[in-house]
Symmetry: C2
Subunit: 610 residues, 2 copies
């Protein structure tokens, strides 16, 4: 964001900004006086305050005046908020009783940025985020390093010598403060932020090269999200980057990014076991680096192994006698070798559709087994209706930076987010009525989420249950990809899949596009079941919809925030989330590294083990 605080004269020029400035002024005064009652009086009956680190050292949404009261009483004396100022006044709006816009503020130890929506002049949704710790700002822009130390300095070391020294020492004679397990987009983006903040960090990844987690997927894979949504921190894609980036190209980008950002990245490194000293909270992590054992002793461990956990493979009778190949979708390499062969793909989400389409294109005889209903969102429709306002060329031209888009998205409390989405998907249903009709006629079981809120809510609640259609649905509708739905699997036979209705589907290959477990499955694998249970389920909001049991959490479980196990963190999600939330995770880690007190407000309880 290039904005700076605007003089009062200009604020006055936009009446919406003036209204916000007035509200913020009164809010600040109440907070400064530690007058909680006065602060609460500024909020409406329905109100939400989402805080990302600035007030709570947590990612936390409080709902209603009582919860806001509790937060203020617990944190106000410590946080000492001040200096609330409207910002980017040209964006402030006032329509249908809702006044909204940007602001900046400070706390005792940090600077922050926020977004507020007033309903009839009273606080409805409030977002506060930490942007930087005072005295620990990134060295960028005017504060960038000089590179060449001018003057003379006998015995000085060059950039290369210092870099080589660091690479030789880190993990051996000098321990990283943070160990990131998993070097995909999540680990890399977080690593870049920690690097800028000067937190000694090591990323370990089992693959040979950064980007391999993408390269090794099925060969037709392209990103399902568009380029405007996918930037990494600090280095935006060039302006000719494809809308939907092919997997190998994004792999190469991640590899280049890792080098450009000077990350300490150990490829071909398998994490074997991690154990925490209960007294100090510090970790001992055994890894195999290119086959050689190394013991790491980081203070913090971040699991950045994707938003998914360990691959799910359902247990089906006969798996031991089937003579063909069986593989999880994460192991499947593409359609090339299956020309003229018969393939059964179990599952009907993104990977299942992509894999079926590529198999069909390569001349395989392919059947999709749909087990439960699926939400289909045509890509163009999704771009136009759901993402376009924040992430598109139109948005860019209107001055919507990636950062502002991320914050705007973050400003909607999860509790009411579905109400923003339902109309979008109703429109999608209308716009694509013929398409959906043909799909259903082919036997495909469709849904739009339990409450009609569509793709993104499904993603947040359960991380599954949808396909962003880039062409495969047409193949299902017209029968090119054979569909078997509304009937269960009885067993595998020697030569295929036997359905409960007695039909047998001959198969040379069975692909289990059956998803992944919760991320704390990695903890069970690398630490212990006990610790995994203590941490509990990751992801999901507690919305009490399919695969997202209550109670209500208000934030994604365990993601980017303190967990019930000290010094154990989870980072992941799509490129958008990795980019945006890495900011808050990096600031939490930096504060701890610098010894800044970080009392966590509202640490989540664990309601589900995985």
């Amino acid at each position: 964001m290039t904005a700076s605080v605007t003089p009062a004269a200009q604020v006055a020029a936009n009446p919406a900004a003036a209204k916000l400035a007035d509200w913020l002024g009164r809010f600040e005064a109440a907070l400064a006086a530690q007058d909680v009652q006065a602060a609460l009086a500024l909020f409406g009956d329905e109100c939400y305050w989402r805080d990302l680190v600035a007030f709570t050292w947590n990612l936390k949404t409080v709902e209603g005046r009582d919860q806001i009261r509790d937060l203020l009483e617990a944190r106000l004396a410590d946080v000492k908020p001040s200096n609330f100022r409207t910002e980017e006044e040209q964006d402030a709006t006032d329509a249908d009783g809702i006044t909204s816009g940007w602001f900046t503020f400070e706390t005792a130890v940090a600077r922050g940025r926020g977004y507020v929506r007033l309903k009839n002049g009273l606080g409805w949704t409030l977002l506060t985020t930490m942007t930087e710790l005072k005295g620990h700002e990134e060295k960028k822009g005017r504060n960038r390093i000089k590179g060449a130390e001018h003057g003379v300095n006998p015995g000085r070391k060059t950039w290369l010598e210092l870099r080589q020294e660091e690479q030789a020492e880190l993990g051996y004679s000098r321990q990283p403060y943070v160990l990131i397990i998993g070097g995909g987009q999540g680990g890399i983006g977080l690593g870049a932020r920690l690097r800028r903040l000067g937190v000694p960090t090591l990323i370990v990844d089992k693959h040979e090269r950064p980007g391999d987690a993408w390269r090794k997927r099925y060969k037709s894979l392209c990103l399902h999200d568009p380029v405007w949504y996918d930037h990494l921190p600090y280095l935006p894609f060039p302006d000719d980057w494809p809308v939907f980036c092919p997997k190998d190209k994004i792999g190469d980008w991640l590899e280049a990014y890792t080098k450009i950002m000077e990350l300490n990245y150990w490829s071909s490194t398998e994490c074997q076991h991690a154990e925490q000293d209960p007294a100090t909270g510090e970790w001992t992590v055994n890894v195999l680096r290119e086959g050689k054992p190394v013991t790491l002793r980081p203070t913090h461990v971040v699991f950045a192994l994707g938003m998914s956990g360990v691959p799910n493979i359902p247990k089906i009778p006969g798996q031991d006698i089937f003579k063909g190949r069986q593989e999880h979708s994460s192991q499947h390499r593409g359609g090339d070798e299956w020309k003229g062969k018969k393939v059964v793909v179990i599952g009907s989400n993104n990977s299942a559709h992509d894999i079926c389409a590529a198999l069909w294109e390569n001349g395989a005889d392919v059947t999709m087994l749909q087990r439960t209903s699926t939400h289909i969102a045509p890509s163009d429709s999704l771009m136009k209706l759901a993402l376009g306002g924040l992430y598109s060329e139109d948005a860019v031209e209107k001055g919507m930076t990636t950062y502002k888009a991320d914050l705007t998205f973050a400003s909607i409390p999860f509790r009411i987010m579905h109400t923003f989405h339902i109309p979008v998907y109703e429109q999608m249903k209308k716009d694509n009525a013929d398409f959906y009709g043909r799909l259903e006629k082919a036997g495909f079981m469709l849904d739009f989420g339990d409450d009609g809120s569509g793709l993104f809510m499904k993603y947040l609640r359960r991380g599954s249950g949808y396909y962003i259609d880039v062409g495969a649905s047409e193949l299902v509708a017209n029968g090119s990809i054979k569909l078997k739905s509304r009937v269960g699997i009885e067993s595998l036979t020697e030569n295929g899949v036997l359905m409960k209705d007695g039909t047998e589907l001959p198969a040379d290959l069975v692909v289990y596009a059956t998803g992944y477990g919760s991320m704390n499955g990695w903890v069970a694998k690398l630490v212990s079941q006990e610790v995994a249970d203590k941490v509990g389920k990751c992801w999901g909001l507690g919305s009490d919809t399919t695969k997202d049991p209550g109670p209500w959490e208000g934030e994604l479980r365990n993601m980017w925030k303190p967990t019930q196990v000290n010094n154990l963190w989870f980072h992941g999600g799509n490129l958008h989330q990795s980019r945006h939330y890495s900011q808050y995770l990096s600031l939490q880690l930096k504060a701890r590294y610098e010894g800044i007190p970080t009392p966590v407000y509202g640490l989540q309880e664990v309601h589900h083990k995985g």
Copy 2:
């Protein structure tokens, strides 16, 4: 540049822009009517028109009404200029009788952008540049490729397969249209532009990895130009990039850039011989790729081997009997191995100073032999006085994009450029009077260019004769680096250097920091002396100052524009020039590739052979 044409109402809001709009309107009307006389009447007695490709298919500055008349008479019917519009009106200024600002225009085949300065309402300096060929625009922004072809397409190839196919074929079963010899910043930046324009291009470079031309220099080397000046096309450095980038870091950036931009880049490839078919103008180029001979048949060859030619090593009696090591500065690796040893560095420009300082830091006993006077520009002073207005954090904050800065710089005709620079260096002299005094007291011979116009004019005229001081001058002034000046070299002896005054300087190492020949030396080496002579000297303006003999050329000789040898081009210079001029060279090559007629106006004559 994000600007778009501004409505008349807004133009009127800035009176300077309104004045320009009026002038441009009359200029356009005269051109449309092919009324050369009316067009000339719009220019003052002193007037310059610099055209980069748009009107002349050349880089050409015409000076005075007679030359402008000639250009218009020769090119007007063909170019059909139209649609002149002011642009970025907020930047238009009107002060001291000079009105200046940006505009856009079109020709029959292209779109362009320009900058004009009126003196008392009449044209004083006019810049016209080609930005894109109609129908051959880069696929960027809204026109970027989709990446994933949605829908289904049996037999489709993935991005990776297509890329691998191209890499396997290009140079073997399929010939590049353009061969770029030299894969430093120049070849890489030009390659990126040609890639975007869809011109099949191959870059060959003798080093093992892109960036090695930097990596293999002396280890203390950092860029002498600041980061804002050094961006490559399309992918700006991240905002924490050091002000003066260390050589290995810029090497890694170039390597990453090459991959990100999908360049066809052959490392470890030595060019052995190139020959042109006189009938077709096409080339046969023999290269050794990783030791294996390959014959390439490109239509165009671009020499991008730096702004320098073959290293100059002066002939000195006794070079055959000296027992120590002798090396050119381009071969010198740094001071590490010379602790406690005696070193004589012949030369007193950038490399000489850097090398002396690093040797001293490493504990060598080092003597600099200054042969002729040198311009010293303290780095901070240079940033503040000369570059800051266009290339600095201040400039960025004021909305000065890299592209606008480049065009602004390009808008000053070379004929009068020194008049803009002389006051800058007079200020530098004043600001650093004490420093310069101490240097002279130590015996250092100083100059500010023949006419006091300082560093950049020296760079343009002769490409040598200066040091951007980042600390070594202090070591010269205080005697840490011993200085020998005002006395010639008699010979090398077995153990050192004998000076004409009879002193002998013992030496374990002699470094020849003695510069490079003209770039057409590469042509002599790879093609023939005859072709090198036909092309003539590269670089320099014909200013009739030291090492830049007249007659006046108006543009840098042979750089980025047609030469006397068809299909033979030169590309090079610092990062700024490589970035900016690669645009015009790439458009000239693209037009030829597409068969668009490119009649060259004012092809330079050759006045010097090298």
